[in-house]
């Protein structure tokens, strides 16, 4: 199968052909000096400091050819930093990078690409207005300098994407693509440039369960075809599913490495978070007498395509309730949340928060009425990357006139309160003035959560609360949500991770095709299978491969359990 695959690539595409030939034709160890270990990619005692902060300390990594190597570690452990050094984005302060045993210098990504290394960043770098094919070929277009051979580009990329099972509409502009499609474009872009070592930084964080499975299939196909894959994840289930080897980082140090089979889950957790107990607490269901915090009646919400995405959904929230919103991606649950938040137009229905019904529902009014909102896309809507942590933390309060003294912003109070929140939420940073863009991905998420939880909302809307968070941080966020609920906040949590919803919510609402199809009290009898079947629109016979029936993720720890 691999052979036929390759000949089909070979017909129109030479760059990749050569590279993959190289990778397969020269088996490691054949002509190599016997001393050199057959590692495809090797990092030897790489160190990297940002000012006072040591992001990587003598980190060594050995990646065997054609293997899948997972890099684990808590937020801010230095995983992305290590990958950036391997891709030439960051320069190590000391240490060495070897490819097939040969030391290489990677002063910039271009050099890394020339050495057959490709990387897909967590935050993509595609040009939105260009099509997939144009993005993929950008800068390495075949043909004469004055004439780009579009036909050849399409043919060769098409062959590549067919071979790897990475299907995208090559003529569609990237701006109109889903996250998963954009990720496929990024992977194709790396492969088109001849990547034989592919680095994926938290590739699954933004994917739905189905998309994740498609990605994993593609990764397996890639390794069969000779590519070596290095990926970062926080989910141990993904490690179990995909990885041959693992390396675990903590606070910039390697604390464990070896074949994945040599570790059990408990050991991995222990290594990642240093033995901290990891538990999630399910919020207790509030008494039926608890006052109503919010009520939504007959809401219809317009979706991105201009079509109605939510059809007349009604829902009441009581104080202290944690209500999980689940649904297969695109079934209206996100639009429902954004409609309540006032981010999307609500075309019909009535929203009441704390007994106050407002006529024109905007996000500003919603917040004034006591709403907190954690948006799905933290990097564009959650924070301003260039702003310091403190500005990001209090932006919502400043705009309502908070933190003012004698008519001007009280920056010293803002700073001291930011320091407190940084400690409460264990945000790894150099201080409140550090720009958000210098934080690790998970710590950016913590800044957003710190802002929204600390404003003490009556109703808190949270989309994907622990996306990109490590196990320990996820548990701490769950803890913080439970605390907020205990103080009377009604929380609506949207998560594509059914196990997370099962673990923390007192009530679960399932969306299907824009309607609320089930509204259950969470309990031990509610399982991922039941929810999964409901998500697919049938209570009786959920197919075996329903999204929720995939192996339970260890992060966050499942209360309901998986298949």
């Amino acid at each position: 199968m691999v052979a036929t695959t390759r000949s089909s690539i070979g017909s129109g595409f030479s760059v990749l052909m050569t590279n993959h030939d190289l990778a397969t034709v020269e088996p490691h160890g054949a002509g190599e000096p016997p001393t050199g270990p057959p590692y495809r990619l090797e990092a030897v005692k790489l160190s990297k400091a940002y000012g006072q902060l040591t992001a990587n300390h003598e980190v060594s990594l050995r990646v065997t050819s054609q293997s899948v190597h997972a890099v684990l570690g808590e937020n801010g452990a230095g995983k992305s930093t290590l990958m950036k050094m391997l891709y030439g984005v960051e320069q190590p302060d000391s240490g060495q990078i070897r490819l097939d045993g040969v030391p290489v210098k990677l002063p910039n990504p271009k050099a890394a690409v020339a050495h057959g290394i490709g990387m897909v960043f967590q935050h993509f770098g595609l040009v939105p207005s260009l099509t997939a094919a144009e993005n993929i070929a950008l800068g390495v277009e075949p043909g004469r300098p004055w004439r780009i051979d579009k036909r050849e580009i399409l043919d060769s990329i098409g062959a590549l994407s067919d071979a790897m099972g990475l299907h995208v509409d090559l003529k569609r502009p990237v701006a109109r693509m889903s996250t998963a499609q954009q990720q496929r474009v990024e992977i194709l872009k790396a492969l088109y440039r001849g990547a034989r070592v592919l680095i994926l930084d938290e590739p699954t964080a933004l994917l739905t369960p189905q998309e994740r499975r498609a990605l994993f299939d593609a990764v397996r196909r890639l390794t069969e075809a000779g590519t070596t894959v290095l990926f970062i994840t926080h989910k141990l289930s993904e490690v179990a599913e995909l990885a041959d080897d693992v390396t675990i980082l903590r606070r910039g140090h390697v604390v464990g490495h070896g074949r994945h089979a040599d570790f059990n889950t408990a050991q991995l957790v222990e290594l990642m978070v240093g033995g901290r107990p990891v538990t999630a607490r399910r919020a207790p269901a509030p008494l039926p007498t608890a006052p109503k915090a919010a009520s939504f009646t007959g809401l219809s919400v317009t979706g991105s395509q201009g079509r109605e995405a939510v059809h007349g959904v009604s829902l009441d929230l009581r104080e202290g309730e944690v209500c999980g919103l689940v649904g297969v991606d695109g079934n209206g649950q996100l639009e429902f949340l954004e409609g309540i938040a006032g981010i999307r137009p609500v075309t019909a229905g009535r929203i009441e928060i704390g007994g106050v019904a407002l006529r024109r529902w905007t996000h500003r009014r919603a917040r004034a009425a006591g709403l907190g909102y954690v948006p799905e896309d933290r990097l564009s809507a959650g924070v301003v990357p260039a702003f310091p942590i403190v500005d990001n933390m209090f932006a919502d309060r400043i705009t309502y006139g908070g933190y003012r003294r004698h008519g001007r912003l009280d920056k010293s109070r803002m700073r001291s309160e930011a320091v407190r929140l940084i400690e409460d939420f264990d945000i790894r940073c150099t201080g409140p003035l550090q720009p958000a863009e210098r934080l690790s991905g998970g710590n950016i998420q913590k800044v957003v959560l710190a802002r929204e939880i600390s404003r003490g909302p009556k109703v808190l809307l949270v989309a994907e609360p622990t996306r990109g968070l490590d196990i320990g941080a996820a548990a701490r966020i769950h803890e913080a949500l439970a605390d907020a609920a205990r103080e009377g906040t009604a929380i609506l949590v949207l998560s594509s991770d059914v196990d997370e919803v099962l673990a923390i919510s007192s009530r679960i609402c399932v969306f299907h095709e824009g309607r609320l199809v089930a509204d259950l009290v969470n309990g031990d009898e509610v399982t991922a299978e039941i929810i999964g079947a409901l998500m697919l629109g049938s209570a009786e016979d959920g197919p075996a491969d329903s999204p929720a029936a995939s192996p339970a993720d260890v992060a966050p720890p499942a209360a309901g359990g998986g298949a």
Binding site: S80, Q91, H123, V384, A386, T399, L409, R415, V419, L433
Partner: protein
Amino acid sequence: MSASETIAVVPRQSGAWRRAVLRGGGRLAATVALAIIVIFVLLAMSADDPAAALGSLLSGPFTSSFRTGQWLSDSANLMLSGAAVAMVFRAGQFSLGAEGQILVGALAAGAAVLHLPSFPGVFVVGLTLGALAGFLFGLVPGLMKAYGGSDEIVSTLMLNYVATYGFALLINRYLQPASAGYPVSDFFDPAAFLPSLRIGQLTIGLALPFAIGCCVAVWYLINWTKTGFEMGAVGASVPFAQATGMRVRRSVWLSMALSGLIAGLAGAVIAEGSTHRLIVGLSANIGFDGILVALLTANRPLLIPLAAVAYGYIRTGGDIAQLSSGIPREVITTLQGFLILAVTARAPLAWIRHRAGRRRPAHGGPVIPGPAPLRAAASSQRTGS
């Protein structure tokens, strides 16, 4: 696992501030030095006596106290215009309407003081009306963008034409004395002149301290007020501003209108302080040179006085050299173009820094080659201080 061990001491505010100013100043000095080299090359090609020409260009403003006064007055006008531009750029709006707003402000001020009976302090009425007119003239494209989604670059540039020709037309219709052959009004009553201070031979207009005050006010607005914070956030990321409950539209129109207000003030100051009457070409391109001044400082209001004085020196020196040694106007204009290039084309600088290995791209991501977008330049200046 407490975070305290990773939290370093908060950097002292004054230190960070001083460093920022030093960095800005150093960059400014480098740009100006480069400019002087280019001027000399240009002069060597175009003037009969390049050395003399350079001499009058470089020392012109100091050759008489009248010229020094002229330089400082021009600098004050540039400061106001630069402050107007920096303010709107910091808010992420690329309004290029300062030129038109200056004319509208001057017209309002001039019409008022020409028609009002003369009384001491009538100049204040002119300033107020000029500011108001500028505010309204900035508000128009602001509302167009906030509620109609029109592109502010296009609308403000078009409104500049409206202002330029409207200015001439209205003077011609209502204010031009019968004897004048082109659109120009009578001189104002001296009570409507901007007061000035005489130190020996040197006359310093009220405009200079006033303009510096305006720069400080813009700095204060941007850094220390809620409204300024909102403007900065909207300028940096509209989705973020929306998701934190900010009034995005208000911020858009308000920043453009406030910028118009400052530009309108600049117009009134030019009319009452420099030309003392309304005349076509009154703005002497101050509105566009304000963009240059703002870019020179990367939109830092506190550096604008410095940049304006430096650029005002070149402007005045150029005027003088043109008169005394016949350097063509084009040389000065070429120089201005060069300065804009030197300031806006950051790619070479970034490349040099990259070679020196001191800087990295901010957040991962494959770097897409191409000019650094203006928007990024305008929004990246925020610090916690």
